[in-house]
Assembly symmetry: C2
Homo-oligomer: 224 residues x 2
């Protein structure tokens, strides 16, 4: 029953499980650097502030990767988690809006390490079109649809002002893109088969604010 190859799971996987898989991947990358050969659910849990049972249950949705009495083989588990997350390959990503946040994202090395290659940039500002960012020439937003298609882009990052984000996304959807990471603080309307994830930084600050004002205890406070 051990060593099952991971497989597409029968049950629907929850959003929280998927997010935790990202955490496991991160922790495993570090453990690998530290030359650990195996790791227990207990250690993995400790490193990401979770419970051992949670770690085991999450992994069990995809197969049996551990050895009783020993734990999980670090390198192998990392490879498996990366397969599960779909980051054992290159994703061709386009970034739209090369302003403050867009420029920061182009230089972010963590993305490349995980297979997210930003290979295309778009803007509507004449001063930016044609300029070079990390080896990529900024394209004119006018050519969005054709170039997304010609360059086999699979994911798009939206970093334009909220006021124009919906118009841009309408074109992105027409170009048959199915995955969008959105930084504009607005609820984008897309057809049901298009995935949108929102990155909303104000939301996290608001959470902190709420927690302070209501002296909400942080999650996990009182343990140890």
């Amino acid at each position: 029953m051990e060593e099952t190859p991971e497989s597409t799971p029968r049950k629907r996987i929850s959003e929280s499980t998927i997010h935790r898989l990202s955490l496991y991947f991160r922790a495993l990358s570090l453990l690998e650097k530290e030359n650990y050969e195996t790791v227990s659910s207990k250690e993995l849990a400790k490193r990401e502030k979770l419970t051992p049972a949670q770690v085991r249950k999450d992994l069990s949705f995809f197969g049996s990767f551990g050895t009783r009495g020993l734990g999980y083989p670090v390198t192998e588990l990392k490879a498996r988690v990366s397969r599960i997350l779909g980051i054992d390959r290159v994703w061709r990503v386009a970034l739209i809006g090369i302003g403050n946040i867009g420029s920061a994202l182009v230089s972010y090395k963590e993305f490349i390490k995980q297979g997210f290659h930003i290979v295309k940039l778009f803007d509507n500002d004449q001063r930016k079109i044609g300029s070079n960012h990390k080896g990529i020439i900024v394209s004119d937003i006018k050519n969005l649809k054709t170039e997304l298609h010609e360059d086999n882009i699979e994911m798009v990052v939206i970093a334009v002002p909220a006021t124009v984000a919906q118009y841009i996304v309408d074109d992105v959807v027409e170009a048959n893109i199915k995955a969008i990471l959105n930084f504009a603080p607005i609820n984008l309307k897309v057809p049901p088969d298009v995935h949108v994830r929102n990155e909303n930084m104000a939301m996290e600050l608001e959470y902190l604010s709420f927690a302070m004002v209501n002296n909400h205890m942080p999650k996990g406070a009182g343990k140890n």
Copy 2:
């Protein structure tokens, strides 16, 4: 029973409810601009892709703000939600690490609108120390503890490389800061009374990747 002033709730409020309050705030700000006087839970739900029951239940944790048959008064509800979230005031924020992402955050106007005032910047790069960003002079990280204290900083944003983030945070904690927004992809260790929220962009891309590879239907697909 109507018009209860909002009050610190008896029950523990879930993280998801708090996040949705942020969405309500955003939607209400827009509705106000569009000159709506009242809004129903149905409309509010539609705008943020939630259910009306969810909207009503969330708000009911804090009081009874609506009028049966009519809905909620937009301006008043917005004020109440902002009170609940603790953003009806100014928060003094320090930003540590004025690199790619740090520079983008300094210029982000949405933060100011919600009461988050970045009033202090820190870096350890001699070329950056003393320079001016949006009217703020970058301080030397050496003076972190004393200046955080002298300037009555209440929240800190971490935008330094992951390798040094923990050391910086140790000092931040010693300076008696209780709220941290962290951009470094690492699990920070802090005492149980310190709130940490992580902004992890790779995680959202990984979610998209997972969804594509597993043709996971987006949440809410199949409605309408």
